[in-house]
């Protein structure tokens, strides 16, 4: 699924307006395969909006985003390169952990057998709870289901909105390793976080929306 070519995600002069207030403007950045972008900014500075614009869910008031030189507007393949985890993590509360992941991977179109899925569930530490309804899990555990989905989908660009919320310390370290592995595999990452996230400096760009 991953290609050898270098992919480039580029944002040019983005501006976002919500209602009559301007959240941010003049946002430029560019990341290539194997690079990460950390989006910083105070509450309400438009971090979530920026990520949603990147995913093509919202439109910027001005500016343009391009993927490998082509604008993402009407460029359907682009959305199939993305794994997105927002504030709501896209986990169905009335399905078990295993069911959630099985359905998610089928909708994504990847075809792994159940042992592989179970391996991933084990790696996020939910193996014992694999047949428990997600509704009954704690907030942190629900978040882990979403992070397991990330690894399952094998998409090139990961767009993560506060992925560390409610996660305990040990798991954060594990998760950092997953992210590093993703970057090593030529993946790309756009992430917002309030907590420290250790990523290799040489590969990480930062952007602050409050500035």
């Amino acid at each position: 699924m991953r290609t050898e070519e270098v992919s480039v995600l580029r944002a040019h002069d983005l501006k976002c307006v919500k209602g009559s207030t301007e959240l941010f403007s003049n946002i430029h950045f560019q990341i290539e395969s194997g690079e990460a972008l950390v989006v910083e900014g105070s509450n309400g500075s438009g971090k979530t909006s920026l990520l949603r614009i990147l995913c093509g869910f919202n439109y910027p008031a001005e500016g343009e985003i391009s993927w490998c030189g082509k604008t993402i507007d009407g460029h359907e393949d682009y959305q199939q390169q993305i794994s997105y985890i927002g504030h709501a993590s896209g986990v169905k509360l009335d399905l078990t952990v295993l069911e959630n992941l099985v359905f998610a991977q089928r909708l994504v179109g990847s075809d792994r057998d159940e042992t592989e899925i179970k391996d991933i569930i084990r790696s996020v530490g939910l193996f014992k709870q694999r047949n428990v309804l997600t509704r009954k899990l704690s907030a942190g555990q629900k978040r882990r289901v979403a992070l397991a989905r990330l690894q399952l989908e094998e998409r090139k660009l990961w767009v993560l909105d506060e992925p560390l919320t409610a996660l305990d310390k040990e798991f954060v370290t594990d998760f950092e390793n997953v992210l590093k592995k993703h970057l090593e595999d030529d993946g790309m990452l756009v992430v917002t976080t309030h907590r420290e996230l250790l990523l290799p400096d040489s590969l990480t760009k930062k952007i602050n929306l409050s500035a």
Binding site: V17, K18, G19, S20
Partner: protein
Amino acid sequence: MWAWFHKLSSPKYYYEWAGKWLPWLAGITVILMVVGLYWGLVVAPTDYQQGESYRIIYIHVPSAWMSMFVYVVMAVAGFVALVWKTKISEIVVSECAVIGAMFTALALITGMLWGKPTWGTYWTWDARLTSELILLFLYFGVIALYSSIEDKRVAAKAASMLAVVGVVNIPIIHFSVTWWNSLHQPNMDIISENPSMDPSMLWPLLVMATAFKIYFVWLLFIRIRNEIISRERTTNWVRKLIAES
């Protein structure tokens, strides 16, 4: 031509452009209305079947025509707003909804006032009145949707979508209502507007219809300009405009 359309979709340019037209539109509306009213109420002969009450058609028919015309304008603007995401067409949708609802209500009220002396009852479930009533509901739907979404740009897009869905449905609704009507009241259609109107009665109708159309454009321009100012109130050009006046 294309460049001109593009320019027109910029709020500032549109504001100035529409502003230039306002006095002309106002003047033409007033002149046509006065001519049409005099012609329709005084000059045109009395109908031998219905007597004087037929004169209501000079406002009823133009209102009814406008109620449908405005819906089509709204849906076309909605389509443009959804595909090209231009700001002006979004505004046109919400403003058309209000004006269209007014025309539809007028068509209903005048239709009822015409029905009393003609049919002896204010309301009959005839195909035209029923269709107008449903059209009014459709307008109310667009207005209600627009006003319940806080972010006005999102609201305009949602309203546009509903307008487009509505315009696909209107022919179906109209067809089904006409068909339903023929099923239940086969003899109601005889006393509707005569297809072969005498020219002395037809001309005032055409004048009034034109007057209504120009009036619509006039009111639409005024309302769009208001909405532009309201939405763009933080921009420099609006501030300058206000400060200068």
